[in-house]
């Protein structure tokens, strides 16, 4: 029997969405540190235009190249993350496994499911992705037991199947 991972697969655009999401975070972090460095050198005798600091100025091509390289690495990581992402209903247990370097596996018996909800954030809406969250009565379940990045039809099917398994 095919697993849920094969029957209701993750969308191909998920790594791209994750990469763009992290790009915003990286840009914010970079601007923060840039502001600190800029303020530190503002009153000193070394001007921010001196040749030592040219490499880090905002219009330097190396900056764009570095950001691009980080993005490519992040994209590759996300592709592998998606490859190792696994979810299935094994009998009466929902199993979700994820992680490239470190692994996390959660086993959630269906009679412990408290609620099922589907949501999207702003990038999810642009890419047409949906997250299916399954929560038990613990705090940590929100962190682990969710299936991210599937399309609308599959998310509704998964929601239906989970609720069906709960009520059985």
């Amino acid at each position: 029997m095919a697993t849920w991972r094969e029957t209701y697969p993750l969308e191909k655009t998920k790594p791209l969405k994750k990469t763009i999401e992290s790009l915003f975070a990286y840009i914010l972090i970079f601007l923060f540190f840039y502001a600190i460095v800029y303020m530190a050198f503002m009153n000193s005798s070394i001007s921010a235009d001196s040749s030592n600091l040219k490499l880090f100025s905002l219009n330097s091509p190396w900056l764009l190249i570095a950001i691009f390289a980080v993005m490519v690495l992040k994209y590759i990581y996300e592709v592998f993350y998606m490859k190792y992402y696994f979810y299935d209903l094994e009998g009466k247990t929902l199993a979700i496994k994820k992680g490239v370097f470190s692994k996390n596996e959660i086993s959630l018996p269906v009679n412990r499911i408290q609620d099922v909800y589907v949501d999207q954030d702003i990038l999810d809406r642009i890419f047409g992705l949906y997250d299916v969250h399954v929560s038990s009565a613990t705090n940590d379940s929100a962190f682990l037991s969710h299936i991210d990045g599937i399309n609308k039809i599959n998310s509704e099917k998964l929601k239906g199947l989970l609720l069906q398994a709960v009520h059985k």
Partner: protein
């Protein structure tokens, strides 16, 4: 009623917890020696004063390592017909009883170094999960609340997980939607 049906590999688990520290120490010391060799600097104070450096090493490295080792050897878990019991602690002791009917879910987590060494940590969570023990000793200090058994073999952890889930599904309780 068996104590530790699957063995806890305390030496490997302790090594996996402290591997980061060992790596850090090695890199710092190697960097220091390389720098001293090329710059011809004087011997740093902690190499002249052996007592100080040994004390430092003992307080921040050997002692936590020994504590972790003893903690893991004192950790006992028992599977009865109706409940899961976890006992442990060196100075302050604890005993936690989880009825199978109250277990919410089971998590198996592997850090990268644990994966390399073929180890798993299993976390059993109830709705009232809180950290009973100092989670530093369990080897997953940043991740989950709830009682955890570190240092199990991968296959053992999976067997234990399957057993616990089977017990949870068998026990009827009025929880959930």
């Amino acid at each position: 009623m068996v104590d530790n049906p699957y063995p806890i590999h305390k030496w490997r688990q302790t090594f996996s917890v402290f591997s980061g520290n060992i790596l850090f120490l090695t890199i710092v010391l190697a960097g220091l020696f390389i720098w001293m060799y090329f710059s011809g600097a004087n011997t740093p104070f902690f190499m002249k004063n052996y007592l100080f450096s040994l004390l430092f090493l003992f307080l921040f490295f050997i002692l936590p390592l020994l504590y972790n080792l003893i903690y893991l050897s004192k950790l006992k878990y028992t599977l009865t017909n109706v409940e899961f019991i976890l006992k442990g602690g060196i100075i302050s002791r604890f005993e936690r009883v989880l009825p199978y009917s109250k277990i919410q879910h089971v998590i198996i987590t592997r850090r990268f170094i644990q994966k390399v060494m073929g180890l798993s940590t299993i976390v059993i969570q109830t709705a009232g999960s809180q950290t009973v023990v100092n989670p530093h000793q369990s080897g997953n200090k940043h991740m989950f609340s709830g009682p955890s058994i570190p240092g199990l073999n991968v296959s053992d952890a999976e067997k234990l997980r399957d057993y616990l889930i089977a017990q949870v599904l068998r026990s009827k309780s009025g929880q959930g939607i």
